[in-house]
Amino acid sequence: MTVGVLPKVVGKRNAAVQAKIPCTVREGFHVNSDKPAEDYLIPLKITWTQTGALQPQPATFPAPQFQKYEFSQKPLSVFTGAFDVTANFKVAANAPAGQGIATGRLSYQACNNTACFAPKSIQISIPYRIE
């Protein structure tokens, strides 16, 4: 999976702000959705390490696809192709005006039709400006 360019977030104190994280899964592969069909499967997840003046809120994921694979007894909840994950923040009430960067990682676990690959993380950095 790859992540495209992340746009700068601009907001005022107490405002809700969003950043779209464009994701692409290579053809023939899938990643588990944020709510996999089985509890032992590893979900797509954002973990923030530093957000500065932005207060992280639950991310918004697209509706998953339910696909049946040769190896699965029942359809799996997955993401394929290109999709956006939306990172949601609230600007802190006492946030100083200026710029910063929120950093975190997007973790995922990919499979194709016959095999799975070790869980991985992609570092993400979202630049922001508080007005």
């Binding site: 023939g28 089985e38 032992y40 499967l41 590893i42 694979y69 040769e70 190896f71 699965s72 007894q73 799996l76 676990q109 499979c111 194709n112 039709n113 016959t114 095999a115 799975c116 690959f117 070790a118 869980p119």
Partner: protein, 206 residues
């Protein structure tokens, strides 16, 4: 040759073996057993089982070993596990040992409950990167190696295998001639230390 160079050489041989076994088709092509002369030695390793006991691959020399690299988060691996349980049940007295090597990062915390839930009846070991590297990296799970009685890799299946390939491969390896003779049956007999071991009998031996 230094240990590092030996390991690198083995990894190279295995990588070539793996690539030779791969197919670009969505489902791996049916992988026949490699001819005797083309089988690389299975690198030895020592890993711990759920009870903390060290298990060495070379302890199973003389038996056919089905070595399955897997993880709890791998759905295709879960598809194969019941097949391997069947094989373990049917063939353990004929000289087959199934070994599952878990590649879960969080160790036994995930693996023990999974093993209990599924009721896995064969030995599960906790893998590590060093062992995976010995076997070509094992980037895709499941990856299953069939190892003959001489400790050589006879087949590799990357991804979910065709069950017939696994069954037929195991059957052929169990029936294959031993060095210097044909294996007609297996018999339990005590070794010098008094432990019961499986011994291959050549024709005419009793």
């Amino acid at each position: 040759m230094s240990r590092l160079r030996l390991t690198a050489a083995l990894a190279g041989v295995l990588l070539g073996f793996l690539l030779g076994s791969c197919s670009s088709a969505p489902r791996p092509a049916r992988a026949a057993l490699k001819p005797d002369k083309e089988r690389p030695a299975a690198p030895d390793f020592t890993l711990k089982d759920a009870n903390g006991k060290a298990v060495r691959l070379s302890d199973f020399r003389g038996q056919v070993v089905l070595l399955d690299f897997w993880a709890t988060w791998c759905d295709p691996c879960a598809e194969e596990i019941p097949w391997f349980m069947d094989l373990q049940r049917k063939e353990k007295d004929h000289g087959l040992t199934v070994l599952g090597v878990s590649m879960d990062d969080d160790g036994w915390n995930s693996v023990k409950p999974f093993v209990a839930k599924i009721g896995i009846n064969y030995r599960v070991l906790m893998g590590n990167d060093e062992t995976a590297q010995l076997y070509g990296g094992v980037d895709a799970l499941p990856t299953t190696f069939l190892i003959d009685r001489q400790g050589r890799i006879a087949a590799v299946h990357i991804g979910v295998a065709d069950r017939r390939d696994i069954d037929e491969g195991v059957e052929k390896l169990l029936a294959a001639p031993q060095q210097g003779g044909r294996v007609t049956r297996m018999e339990k007999q005590p070794d010098r230390a008094g432990r019961i071991v499986l011994a291959a009998l050549a024709p005419g031996a009793n």
